[in-house]
């Protein structure tokens, strides 16, 4: 049961394609789990379609159609859309094995098909992180894998954080979250997510800026963590 959804700003900016790319990836991932938000995006897109149909037309140059048909006639092909095998979310599938995790299309593309191929960085016992390259410099995007029953270091956000749960569930002081949920944390909010006992929790996370761990140990670790992530980013890029 999905309880946390993108608000009207996210959905509208998504439908008008005005959302920063990393955030759009998160909304797109949520939509594959949530028929209601998908229907809202369809409605919003219809609004666009209606407004589009009422625009004052602007004449195109006279040879435009001929030029286009010359291209068509030459057998030119538009850049073929990447076809990814359709894989529907299934409630009845045992998704405890990592290779069985249902991945929304945008995520599947970013991880090159499988989580196993990612370059994971272990951060403490309970958490490992794999950065993703999303051509969006305002955000950092990553897959987080919190071990079943594991607890992340308590951390405070310097910027907005979006989390989309891809598998498992976690809870913090404010609530508990399960697959498909779209959870937003704002700058200044601190929390300490804990994965439930039954399975690993895998999340898509998009951060405005790096989070700042609160405990002394992690504060000491932070420069190292940043260093390791940066080095990894460079080697991936």
């Amino acid at each position: 049961m999905i309880s946390y959804h993108p608000d009207s700003r996210y959905l509208t900016d998504f439908a008008t394609a005005n959302l920063p790319l990393a955030e759009a990836v998160c909304v797109s991932a949520h939509l594959e789990f949530c028929g209601k938000c998908r229907a809202h995006v369809q409605q919003l897109t219809d609004v666009g379609g209606h407004m589009f149909a009422r625009l004052q037309p602007e004449a195109v140059s006279e040879d435009s159609f001929a030029a286009l048909m010359a291209r068509v006639g030459a057998g030119a092909q538009a850049p073929a859309p990447v076809t990814v095998a359709v894989q529907a979310p299934r409630e009845d599938v045992d998704d405890t094995a990592q290779s069985n995790v249902f991945l929304p299309r945008a995520v599947r593309r970013l991880v090159s098909g499988s989580l196993d191929k990612l370059r994971w960085v272990q951060l403490g016992k309970a958490l490992r992180v794999a950065p993703l390259q999303v051509s969006d410099e305002s955000r950092e995007t990553a897959i987080y894998d919190i071990r079943a029953g594991g607890r992340m270091p308590e951390h405070e956000h310097r910027g907005e954080e979006i989390t989309v749960l891809l598998q498992g569930s976690f809870s913090d002081a404010d609530g508990s979250y399960s697959r498909g949920d779209f959870v937003v944390r704002h700058a200044g909010e601190a929390h300490q997510p804990t994965a439930t006992m039954d399975k690993d929790c895998i999340c898509l996370v998009c951060l405005e800026r790096p989070v700042r761990p609160r405990g002394l140990f992690y504060r000491l670790l932070e420069p190292l963590v940043n260093y390791r992530l940066q080095r990894l980013n460079r080697s991936v890029a």
């Binding site: 229907a39 369809q42 407004m51 149909a53 004449a59 030029a67 286009l68 538009a78 945008a106």
Partner: protein, 206 residues
């Protein structure tokens, strides 16, 4: 979903939409179908004459700040090229022709902006803005009713609400950009857009 399911939903939706004068069948659906099945150039010319000037108008609104007019012309041709190539993927059960072509123009525009900005492409626009698996039929039916509602209610919006919708959907501006341009708090822009959407019976909880 099989193609017969699709056509069932399509005919259901047409039956619902056929209630009023505005529910008349979309004449452009047949044109798209002829392009898809027979590569019918005469029908495509009709589509081009109708839609290309609208596409150019849409793209001009979005790009005036960073490019010249010839770019709008070039991108318009790109959009119509995609209409030709993708005609067989058009599904009248999912969207009207207007909405379908709007989404192609929207994606072409964002793709262009991104390619201009950076060379590295780790993900395609169509991996993000794609048609996910079809929602349950019940959702589809509600959706069609809403589509008619949008058509009727759009004209009755107060000016300040119509303005923010225009900026978001046609000028391709985010909530933040609209807030900056109109010197309004982000919360005000958000509530104006939400109010406008609720008048169009798009009731987003948050």
């Amino acid at each position: 979903m099989s193609s017969s399911d699709d056509s069932n939903i399509g005919s259901l939706r047409k039956a619902l939409a056929g209630a009023g004068p505005q529910g008349a069948p979309d004449p452009w659906e047949a044109s798209i179908r002829k392009v898809a099945l027979h590569q019918d150039r005469a029908e495509f010319k009709k589509l081009f004459d109708h839609y290309a000037p609208m596409i150019k108008a849409f793209l001009s609104k979005g790009i005036s700040s960073y490019a010249d007019r010839s770019l709008a012309e070039e991108m318009t041709q790109e959009v119509m090229f995609k209409v030709w190539n993708k005609a067989d993927s058009f599904n009248p059960a999912k969207a009207s022709v207007n909405t379908w072509i709007f989404t192609i123009a929207r994606n072409t525009r964002i793709d262009f902006i991104r390619r201009n900005g950076r060379a590295d492409r780790t993900i395609d626009i169509e991996d993000i803005w794609h048609e996910a698996d079809s929602p349950e039929p019940v959702v589809e039916l509600q959706q069609r009713r809403v589509e008619t509602m949008i058509r009727n209610a759009m004209a009755t919006l107060p000016e300040e609400q119509a303005l923010v919708l225009e900026k978001a959907f046609m000028e391709s501006k985010s909530h933040n950009e609209i807030a900056e341009e109109l010197a309004l708090p982000l919360g005000t822009v958000k509530s104006r857009i939400r109010l406008a959407l609720s008048k169009l019976q798009i009731l987003i909880d948050r």
